[in-house]
């Protein structure tokens, strides 16, 4: 099959929603199908995060950054992408900070996102582990409300256990925190920082941010930055 025909077939599959499930190629090891062209050396942020019907790879993803830097918006997008693809997504919400009104604007069906509000850090980790083992494709673990130093005291054991559960079940566990704590167990670590807020005509319209890849085990040596345009979409 020529490259042109392959590209054409990929385009058709993408339009019909099968791009994540049908691999285009020869009998040789199948290449990973990405929603956009993967011919570029630097993958897009969606490709890195697995947004857009790419099968989960079974890894821990760290989204760290200061407040108002866009990490929660990225997690929204990941959860919404998983649900749109027909897989299960869950949100373990330690700080009880998930706002359904804003989450709904991503287009997600809220009934298909399992929300869990654990009473403490250990319960949050247990809940995430249980969800990953059950078959949830994306588990967002929001630990932003954890007590200062509590995450550092955990050590590597809980993350190793969580990584094992994620790998065995091909789940993506997305950790939301203000600073890195997973260490080498993370398959992907992104640091988000806000650049500029958008106030237009007396309205707050969102902000521009930047996501820096701190670690990507699958694509070593491709540390780069991605621009984020986080926009306020009103209902």
């Amino acid at each position: 099959m020529s490259d042109d025909r392959r590209e054409e077939l990929r385009r058709i599959l993408q339009q019909s929603g099968l791009s994540g499930r049908v691999l285009v190629g020869s009998a040789a090891p199948a290449p990973e199908v990405l929603p956009r062209s993967s011919s570029r050396l630097v993958p897009t942020l969606d490709e890195r995060l697995g947004i857009g019907r790419i099968p989960s790879r079974g890894q821990l993803i760290e989204l760290v950054g200061d407040a108002s830097s866009g990490r929660t918006a990225l997690a929204y997008r990941m959860a919404a992408g998983t649900v749109a693809g027909g897989a299960l997504a869950a949100w373990v919400d330690l700080p009880n900070a998930l706002d359904p009104r804003f989450l709904r604007r991503t287009g997600i069906d809220l009934r298909s996102l399992l929300w869990v509000h654990p009473p403490g850090l250990q319960a949050a980790l247990k809940a995430a582990d249980l969800l990953a083992r059950t078959g949830f494709a994306t588990v967002v673990l929001d630990l932003d409300g954890a007590a200062p130093g509590a995450l550092a005291k955990l050590g590597a054991t809980p993350w190793t256990r969580l990584l094992r559960s994620a790998r065995e079940n091909r789940a993506s566990v997305v950790l939301l925190a203000s600073e890195r704590c997973v260490g080498s167990a993370a398959g992907l670590a992104l640091y988000t920082e806000r650049r500029q807020a958008r106030f237009e005509a007396g309205l707050f319209e969102g902000f521009d941010a930047c996501a820096s890849v701190l670690r990507d085990r699958a694509r070593a040596g491709t540390a780069d930055r991605h621009a984020l345009h986080v926009l306020h979409r009103r209902e």
């Binding site: 918006a73 991503t106 298909s112």
Partner: protein, 472 residues
Amino acid sequence: MLRAEPELRGRPLAIVSAHTEARSVILAGYLRGHALSEAQALCPDLRVRRLSLEAVRSAQEALFDVAQSVTPRVEHATPNSVQLDLEGTEATFPTTGGLLLALETRLCSVGLELARSGIGPSRTIAWLAARHGNGGHVVPTRRVRHFLDPLPIALLDPPLEILERLTRWGVGTLGELRRLSGAALGTRLGTAAVELARRAEGRDLIPFRPAPPAVRFEESVDSEHAIDNLETLGFVLRTALDRLTSRLRLRGLAVRELWLELTLENGEPSARSIGLGGATVETTSLLALIRLSLERDPPAAAVERIRVVAVPGTPEVAQLDFFLPPLPAPAELTTTIARLEALCGPGHVGALACSDGYRLEATSLERFSARSPRAAHAKPELPRLTLALRALRPPRGVRVSSQNGVPVRIELERGSVHVVVRRAGPWRLCGEWWERTRFARDYFDVELASGGLYRLYQDLESHTWFLDGIYD
């Protein structure tokens, strides 16, 4: 009793009305009819248990459940026996051996034993087939006479005076009774004898009346001693839940609603509902939820009697989709949600939804649905990157310096003042003015010089400021 304490099986056991009194008569079990003191003298290893009507009732219900797992047409015959209409069950149980084996296995799973059984073309014949000898007889239609004729009349439990009269006449078997004229019997011995003669032919006197299916399942445990700690209570509850879920599994059902009813040492009842995420038969999850409830709100006194009541529901099933990723089995998902509820508490697991109200912070919890109906269309619509709000629940009160009602400086923490560099607003939100909970607020979106984009509002009644959320 053996259902609750299976370790007593094979040991000398006496059931008494009140084991504290030495004069109590043994009602069932070892040395039945003897005084307790006498029995204890004869057998020092004798285990004594008090008669529990609750346990007897639970055993009767379990027996009925096992019967209903074979056929829906089941009638209570005596307190410890049931009659099954096996018409139409040939497809499931082609042989009687297979049927009896299934019954034995299922009875064993709920802690009961098959004492006697009999199969026949009528209920009377089946009853006689169970009572004759060691039971277990299967009487086909063509061999009814051959089976009935040699049986003694006493097997039909006739009135004593009729039995004596018939014995004096030299009539001792059902065959001999059948050969007597019904009219002559009626003239001499009355209608009771006529009915006896009909039963001797294997006929049923009253029609079959199947009992309706149970709308709730109960298991009870009467503790010998009052239980005053949760560990022991959990142990007792586990056995009760095991029996309950075994009964439900037999019927292809799951626990949809669960209640725990306790009778305390001081005689007061204590009942509580255990919230479940969905229908489940996982004992571990149910026990964890009950434990959580008991830990949160322990009983006021030691517990003497435990009753677990379950409203049955149909276990969820799902059809796999050819074009969508596979999901976990509904039962597995329900169990996970139940475990999460046990871990996090009720009301902390589900699908978060926007409340139908005027307050921006109002949310509600709905039932989680594994697959969105929209996903079935499989339209590849990439989700948008939209602004997120990290809500502060409850809203945090802050000190704000304002000019003309517009915030210019915010004190997020004591001594930590942040200058507002840009802002949007206000937009006013008011509602519930017809209630005491009425509110009126002016909302602002602000950017602080130190970084951070916040949503805050001023309560127009108290003129206090609250931080509502952080944009992220």
